[in-house]
């Protein structure tokens, strides 16, 4: 297989539905060995893109390929090499977790018993429990295990950590790391900024079915705004923080000041040092806030 062929490639990909909620003219590619985050609010078209890649729905225009294989013509060859976790999925309630997993793996023609056991242990999942009595988080684990079990070359994961508790998220991140060490490629959709920052090399940002940007994660972090809220013992006169490097906006109300800033936080901390600070909170902006700042279009910005 030609190593210069991207792991995943979409070209002018368009899916129109009668209503809105499709994708328009998407073009991007994911290199081998990359962990690529596909980021966007719910309903932006992430799942639509993924389901075209796997040939569950067919594009109106354009094409998609994985490892040089065409999503329509070579769907079965693609399925052989891809591990897929749907954003929403149902399992067979009457089966046990173990039966569900062996069923899917036997359809792949493999005997993955050892791999199933090992992954179940890592995710702390009891394989002998019936699906019907599993919690949402445990069902998500079954979904994750079936995606990883055959050690696929490409992982396509739609909102992989939803419903997982923090400990299990860590277990998942370790698996991602190992997959990449093996030379695997990961295409991961999410609407949670910090998660994408944590695991991805590059992100594609999609909004309203259109690709808003494809960025290195480091560049994106540099651009991302932080929101800092401080409570001061004595209200600061207005304009106190406006000239601090990196501060975009500082709004005072009562004893609180809400500051929006980019880049390092150090200059702000130094500036605050001359005040008596009662409380300080800093948080990442939500994805929507990032959009509003960087990708706002003329009419809705």
């Amino acid at each position: 297989m030609n190593p210069s062929v991207p792991a995943l490639e979409v070209e002018r990909l368009t899916k129109s539905y009668g209503r809105a909620r499709g994708v328009v003219d998407l073009t991007f590619s994911v290199e081998r060995g990359e962990v690529f985050g596909y980021l966007g609010p719910n309903g932006a078209g992430k799942t639509t893109t993924i389901r075209i890649l796997l040939d569950f729905i067919r594009p109106t225009r354009g094409r998609a390929s994985i490892l040089g294989l065409d999503s329509r013509r070579d769907a079965i060859a693609i399925h052989r090499r891809v591990g897929y976790l749907p954003g929403e999925f149902g399992l067979y309630e009457r089966l046990t977790a173990h039966e569900q997993l062996t069923y899917l793996s036997s359809l792949r023609g493999g005997d993955d018993e050892r791999s199933i056991r090992e992954l179940a242990e890592r995710f702390d999942l009891d394989l002998d429990v019936r699906i019907a009595s599993l919690s949402h988080g445990n069902k998500q684990k079954v979904g994750l295990i079936q995606a990883f079990v055959h050690r696929p070359d490409v992982l396509i994961l739609d909102e992989p950590t939803q419903g997982l508790d923090p400990l299990m998220q860590q277990a998942f991140y370790r698996l991602l790391h190992e997959a990449r060490e093996r030379g695997g490629t990961v295409f991961l959709s999410s609407h949670v900024m910090p998660e994408v920052e944590h695991v991805c090399d590059r992100v594609g940002i999609i909004r309203d079915g259109r690709l808003a940007a494809v960025e290195d994660i480091d560049d994106l972090k540099g651009k991302a705004l932080k929101l800092v809220e401080v409570r001061l013992a004595t209200p600061a006169p207005s304009g106190t923080f406006d000239r601090v490097p990196g501060v975009r906006e500082a709004v005072a109300f009562g004893d609180r000041v809400r500051i929006t800033m980019a880049g390092p936080i150090d200059p702000l901390v130094k500036a605050l040092a001359s005040h008596e600070v009662l409380d300080l909170q800093s948080r990442e902006p939500s994805l929507e806030e990032v959009f509003l700042t960087f990708y706002a279009t003329g009419d809705d910005g």
């Binding site: 796997l54 569950f56 399925h79 897929y84 999925f89 067979y92 039966e99 062996t102 036997s106």
Partner: protein, 263 residues
């Protein structure tokens, strides 16, 4: 758990066991009453003769003979309806059921073709319906003689085979509607509607002159006439019913292969 076929059947074992129990019960309830009926044969025949000609034909005209009795009580409506309900349920669930409970994406993300999944599901429906038919035939052969019903095994098999083929024709239609729409309730509704409609047409045509051509559109026509339990299964009728099933499955494959699946 090897294939879609074995898994589908395995998942069904408990339900199938209950269906088998039901069929045997229906069969025993029918055969056990035969001695009562045959003792009063004359009065029952009189009652039957007073019915309009169409209904008489629908139920079978020779009520007092063992074969005529089974035809009237079991094979005119009861047995075919039971098998029909099973097959329509299985056909509707096959694709639309998986799609509605959102397990289809995972299933089709394996290197198994859509048509392979569909054909395995169709095979599961056929196997289970034939199995239920075999249970019914066996029940008749075993429970008949103690109640003065002794019919040749070949005739019982012929009658049951007719039932099974009729059920598979409608099961195939349900499978096609479900595979084409992805909606189970639509598949059940449309197929049950077609079944009820075509039954009515067949019955009406018996008493209304000039409906003969319309009758030939009804699958029930190829099941009811001639009465297989008495005269054996007509090969043309069997072929027509089988063809409806096969063509329905082919349409199901065609529709399923080219459709966008719902998430």
């Amino acid at each position: 758990m090897g294939s879609v076929l074995t898994k589908t059947l395995r998942e069904q074992r408990r339900a199938l066991a209950w269906w088998a129990v039901g069929l045997v019960a229906a069969c025993v309830l029918t055969t056990a009453f035969y001695p009562t009926i045959s003792k009063n044969a004359a009065s029952f025949q009189k009652l039957l003769d007073s019915l309009p000609e169409g209904l008489r034909k629908a139920f079978g005209e020779n009520f007092a003979s063992p074969a005529g009795y089974l035809q009237a009580r079991l094979f005119s409506i009861f047995a075919p309806v039971l098998l029909l309900i099973y097959a329509i349920g299985a056909g509707s669930r096959a694709i639309a059921g998986e799609e509605e409970r959102q397990s289809l994406d995972l299933l089709l993300s394996t290197p198994v073709r859509r048509r392979r999944v569909l054909l395995d599901k169709a095979l599961a429906m056929i196997t289970a319906t034939v199995g239920l038919g075999a249970v019914l035939a066996l029940a008749i052969v075993v429970t008949g003689p103690p109640f003065e019903i002794s019919i040749g095994v070949a005739n019982v098999v012929a009658a049951v085979a007719g039932c099974v083929l009729l059920a598979l024709a409608f099961g195939g239609i349900a499978l096609a509607v479900g595979a084409g729409t992805g909606r189970r309730s639509v598949a059940v509704g449309v197929t049950a509607g077609i079944a009820a409609g075509s039954y009515l047409i067949d019955i009406l045509a018996l008493s209304v002159n000039g409906l003969g051509w319309l009758q030939r559109l009804s699958p029930f026509f190829y099941y009811r006439d001639p009465e297989s339990i008495i005269r054996g299964l007509d090969p043309i009728d069997a072929i027509v019913l089988g063809a409806i099933a096969v063509i329905s499955v082919a349409i199901a494959v065609w529709a399923f292969e080219r459709r966008d699946l719902s998430a």
